[in-house]
């Protein structure tokens, strides 16, 4: 899905005072591209994702997906949160089936549920409840729940942020494989420089709140990428410098 963000601004009311979180952000994402939004914690990147998902409306500017304005949530644009937020009363299978059930097409399209579970490597855990799963497995279920809807835009809000470092590494590799196989457009919010460079073709760097785009890095390296790739190391140094963290 081609995504076009023009002069988007967003402000929240905090004790009666408007608190700007997004300031005149313009962004263009080509279909099939993997873009990472990198910036300090709490800078407003997640707000941009909520706007793209259609969960909130911007206070200024326009957002379009494939030319159509984004003004409400739609299953073609799905959001994966930092917390898996699985429904604890549903089994893995029922959690993944949520989107199809909500749209009333579970009977017709039910076979996609098993496909999505297989895709994220959770075959055999269909009847488990969320409290029986580890953090990494829960996040995989959340991914499957998003992918089962056949989205064209995958919005990832620090989906690996709460995982232990080993699980994180393997999930990063899996995300790349999933994206390559499906050909969907992906926008990832993260504050982990390395993660952005390993996953994305383009890294957009944001300023502290209110978020403004300060720079853009093109990561023109083949997948799968390696952390010790000298070009990635150089880009990492550059990104840290842009974030004001150079040593």
């Amino acid at each position: 899905m081609a995504v076009d963000v023009r002069h988007a601004s967003q402000a929240f009311l905090l004790e009666g005072q408007p608190l700007p979180v997004l300031d005149n952000v313009s962004l263009n994402v080509k279909p099939g591209e993997f873009v990472a939004l990198l910036g300090p914690s709490g800078c407003g990147k997640s707000t941009l994702l909520r706007l793209l998902a259609g969960l909130d409306a911007p206070t200024g500017g326009t957002l379009t997906g494939d030319g159509a304005p984004i003004d409400a949530p739609d299953p073609s644009r799905v959001l994966v949160f930092q917390d898996p937020t699985l429904y604890p009363w549903r089994t893995v299978k029922a959690n993944v089936a949520l989107g199809l059930e909500a749209r009333g097409i579970l009977k017709r399209e039910g076979h996609r549920v098993q496909q999505a579970i297989d895709l994220v490597g959770l075959t055999g855990f269909e009847t488990a409840y969320p409290h029986q799963l580890s953090g990494g497995m829960s996040q995989r279920v959340a991914l499957a729940r998003a992918l089962v809807n056949d989205p064209r835009l995958l919005l990832l809000d620090e989906p690996l942020g709460k995982l232990d470092s080993l699980t994180r590494l393997s999930m990063q590799a899996e995300l790349v494989r999933l994206w390559q196989r499906s050909g969907l457009t992906a926008i990832l919010v993260t504050h982990d420089v390395e993660e952005a460079l390993i996953l994305a073709q383009r890294v957009i760097i944001f300023s502290p709140r209110p978020a403004r785009i300060t720079a853009e890095l093109i990561v023109d390296r083949p997948y799968p990428r390696h952390r010790d790739d000298p070009e990635l190391v150089a880009l990492r140094r550059e990104a840290l410098g842009l974030l004001g963290l150079a040593d």
Partner: protein
């Protein structure tokens, strides 16, 4: 942690204990002793049914001794009996103490303290009236509770979901809810055509308040992210209420149902004492009026068993519906 952790049964330690069940033999001996004392020692006061009580204790004691010796042959049942040993022993000893204090030595004053055989006499002779009272009470309780719980659930969901409904219902709830349902007694018996319907109303009212408040707080406290997830996946408002808000609030709803059940018990007794001509509350009142304290204790015991059974059933239902929860309060 990786992989699903599905808890099996308890450890194996408890399930592989061969040999006789000595706890059962001890309990059996306690009951045999109770039988001997009941049957052989002379009654100090005039009571009936002494020999029936002795026969009952003898039968139970003998069965326990046999079960204790034959435990390895009883399989599953034998295993489940083992944990009961200490309780059965203490109950047997308690019967001896009770028997000595009342019938045999007459230390406790009559008529306020009934003897064990006195209680047995009530059950054997007055069971038609007592049984009818139980059935009437159960019917009143179940209809009132069902109405109150259903109304409370609907009200709670509406309050938690709709701001407009909350605006109108919340003040009423705050004013009327904390009032003890029994305070409505005079109005209820005046406003309703029959004392039965008035009592049903009172039981329903007592149940309604806690169910409403807890359902409401359950629905209002649902993790906002659950709604975001469902909305991005294309859920309608109906779906959000029925498939997200209500299931997420169910643990709270059950707390409300539990508290409502407790409240309904107390209202039941009061309503029956004042307005109805049958039921356990009425039976208690009637027994007290005739100074038939044996009947009173007998009715109290039946009532305790009834209430406890109802709570157990509620918790069984909860365990079934909320099997996905872990680490909740046990009953």
């Amino acid at each position: 942690m990786s992989g699903a952790v599905i808890a099996g049964g308890l450890g194996d330690a408890a399930s592989t204990r061969p040999g006789p069940w000595f706890g059962g033999v001890v309990a059996g001996l306690a009951w045999l002793a109770a039988a001997a004392i009941t049957s052989l020692a002379p009654d100090e006061i005039e009571v009936g049914r002494t020999q029936e009580l002795a026969a009952f204790a003898l039968l139970l004691g003998a069965s326990l001794v046999v079960a204790g010796l034959a435990a390895p042959l009883l399989g599953q049942l034998g295993q489940r009996l083992r944990t009961l040993g200490p309780w059965l022993t203490v109950l047997g000893l308690a019967l001896i103490g009770w028997e000595l204090l009342t019938a045999k030595l007459a230390i406790l004053p009559l008529p306020f303290f009934a003897s064990p055989q006195g209680l047995l006499e009530v059950y054997l002779e007055d069971w038609p009236r007592l049984g009818e009272s139980v059935l009437r009470s159960l019917w009143l309780l179940l209809t009132g509770y069902a109405i109150g719980a259903a109304a409370g659930f609907v009200a709670g969901v509406a309050l938690g979901w709709s701001k407009a409904i909350g605006y109108w219902v919340h003040p009423v709830l705050r004013l009327v809810g904390p009032l003890p349902a029994t305070a409505w007694l005079p109005i209820a018996f005046f406003a309703f055509p029959s004392s039965g319907s008035a009592s049903t109303f009172l039981v329903a009212l007592a149940t309604w308040f806690p169910v409403t408040v807890l359902t409401w707080s359950g629905v209002a406290g649902v993790n906002r992210a659950y709604y975001d997830i469902a909305r991005t996946l294309g859920a309608s408002q109906t779906f959000l209420v029925l498939k997200v808000a209500i299931p997420a609030a169910l643990p709270q709803v059950f707390v409300g149902l539990f508290m409502g059940l407790g409240a309904s018990f107390s209202v039941l007794v009061v309503a029956e004492m004042l307005g109805v001509k049958a039921g356990l509350g009425w039976y208690l009142q009637w027994a007290q009026g005739w100074a038939a304290y044996g009947n009173m204790y007998a009715a109290l015991l039946v009532m305790a068993l009834m209430c406890s059974t109802l709570v157990t059933l509620l918790f069984k239902g909860r365990d079934r519906v909320l099997a996905w929860q872990k680490g909740t309060v046990r009953w």
